[in-house]
């Protein structure tokens, strides 16, 4: 099985998504090429297909409805193109190892400062989501019934309390990091190999050529 690094997967997905999203509206021929590429990528990453299908969002349907007045052909092109992008991105998402969301983001081409904030946020986020789950469990054990009641308790004050709790929690996480010598640079050991670099560059070039061509070609 192919074993790419997390960063490589992220970057390749980004390249594919961007070039798919930008092909000319109505150019079905190029869309077909990307369809094949997207499915290839999904296959290579061994993405769980059913989870993938479930993830297609409400927002897409909503926008689909609104683009329908532009004509069935145009609307279906828009939707299909969008679906392909989702397919590629989700293939990456669903194959991130558990708990590595934050680490995966280290592969983003962002300025260092922004990257640090993004990584820390993702890291806190996982902890926060766990806290919410724990709060919910604790509440259930003391007589909270079902999800609808939980919604009632997710009143503003509970969100406020969540904020204080997260403030406290993140301060502790930050302290824990400081104690282990954190100095503003998240140490992570994943590296992109030369081979992977090469593939990335090639794909990017192909992507650019295809996308530009989609505007010139007469097909």
């Amino acid at each position: 099985m192919l074993n790419f690094s997390l960063y490589f997967n992220l970057r390749l997905s980004l390249i594919l998504v961007i070039s798919t999203a930008l092909i000319k509206t109505g150019n079905w021929y190029f869309l077909a090429i990307y369809l094949i590429l997207a499915f290839g990528w999904t296959f290579l990453l061994k993405t769980p297909i059913f989870t993938l299908i479930k993830l297609l969002g409400l927002e897409l349907i909503f926008l689909g409805l609104m683009s329908l007045p532009l004509g069935v052909e145009k609307a279906s092109f828009l939707i299909l193109r969008s679906l392909l992008c989702l397919l590629i991105m989700n293939s990456f998402l669903l194959t991130i190892p558990k708990y590595h969301l934050a680490i995966a983001l280290k592969g983003l081409p962002l300025p260092v400062k922004m990257q640090e904030i993004v990584i820390l946020t993702a890291q806190y986020l996982e902890i926060l989501l766990l806290e919410i789950k724990q709060m919910h469990t604790a509440a259930k054990l003391r007589g909270l019934k079902g999800n609808s009641q939980w919604l009632r308790y997710i009143s503003a004050s509970l969100i406020g309390s969540l904020y204080l709790r997260s403030l406290d929690r993140s301060e502790r996480v930050y302290n824990a990091m400081l104690i282990k010598g954190y100095n503003g640079n998240f140490p992570v050991v994943i590296k992109i190999s030369k081979m992977e670099h090469f593939i990335l560059i090639i794909t990017a070039i192909i992507g650019i050529i295809l996308t530009i061509n989609s505007y010139n070609s007469l097909i």
Binding site: Q134, K140, L141, R142, G143, R165
Partner: protein, 245 residues
């Protein structure tokens, strides 16, 4: 099924319980029953599966095989609300238990859920906080308490509901000796039907409970009166329960 007679009225029956996390089977066929009036210790080394077993009892995790009965109710999704109403359950980490903005609200939360009037609930909550020496902190958020105080606040929130079954996961963790003593007194004076306590604090637990279950290798390996068990150093050492540590 186990027959019920008047001397031994089982409140909790666990029958061939099997539970595992994704990667690994933890509980591999657990069976025991706890009768009305019993105070029972759940012992076992770090990672033995004590907390996992307790979670199963209250339906936070559902078994892959076997069944659990709490007072004639099977632990399954449709019964959980009813079952949880009977049980007071303390998590191993008290921070997981405290979720309301202030500890007063936290203790009141359960009471309000069970249709007690706000005024009565507040009265009762304040009574319990006073019992646990926390009344001066009633308007504090839980994370502004010390480790031991968090434990006490969590216990107050549970006892406020007058549960008929009490399940505690390492309740003395983080408490000072004086509080361990006071907690023992409180627990011994409670009128509940069954108490089940997981603990590594052997000297404390032997003062509270009369029967001991040792969990090891996914099974209940020992089920004995504690007074006997504590005489058998060999057995204890076999399960890494050293009395002098």
């Amino acid at each position: 099924m186990i027959k019920i007679n008047h001397q031994e009225q089982p409140i909790i029956i666990v029958n061939n319980l099997v539970f595992g996390y994704e990667k690994k089977l933890i509980l591999q066929g657990i069976s025991f029953s706890l009768n009305r009036g019993e105070r029972v210790a759940l012992l076992g080394k770090t990672g033995a599966g004590k907390s996992t077993l307790l979670d199963n009892l209250i339906g936070l995790k559902l078994p892959q095989q076997g069944e659990i009965m709490i007072e004639d109710l099977k632990v399954e999704n449709s019964n959980l609300n009813q079952i949880r109403k009977k049980i007071g359950f303390a998590f191993q980490n008290p921070e997981h238990q405290l979720f309301m903005p202030t500890i007063l609200e936290d203790v009141m939360f359960g009471l309000l859920n069970y249709q007690i009037s706000p005024q009565k609930a507040k009265e009762k909550a304040r009574f319990l906080l006073a019992e646990f020496d926390l009344i001066e902190y009633e308007n504090r958020s839980a994370h502004e308490l010390s480790g031991g105080q968090k434990r006490l606040a969590a216990l107050a929130g549970i006892l406020a509901l007058d549960p008929s079954i009490l399940i505690l996961d390492e309740p003395t963790n983080g408490l000072d000796p004086a509080w361990r003593k006071k907690l023992a007194q409180i627990l011994l004076n409670l009128s509940v039907e069954v108490i089940l306590i997981a603990s590594h604090d052997l000297h404390w637990i032997r003062k509270i409970t009369a029967r001991g279950l040792i969990l090891d290798q996914g099974k209940i390996q020992v089920d004995q009166p504690l007074s006997e068990l504590f005489k058998q150093e060999k057995t204890l050492e076999k399960y890494r329960l050293f009395l002098d540590w």
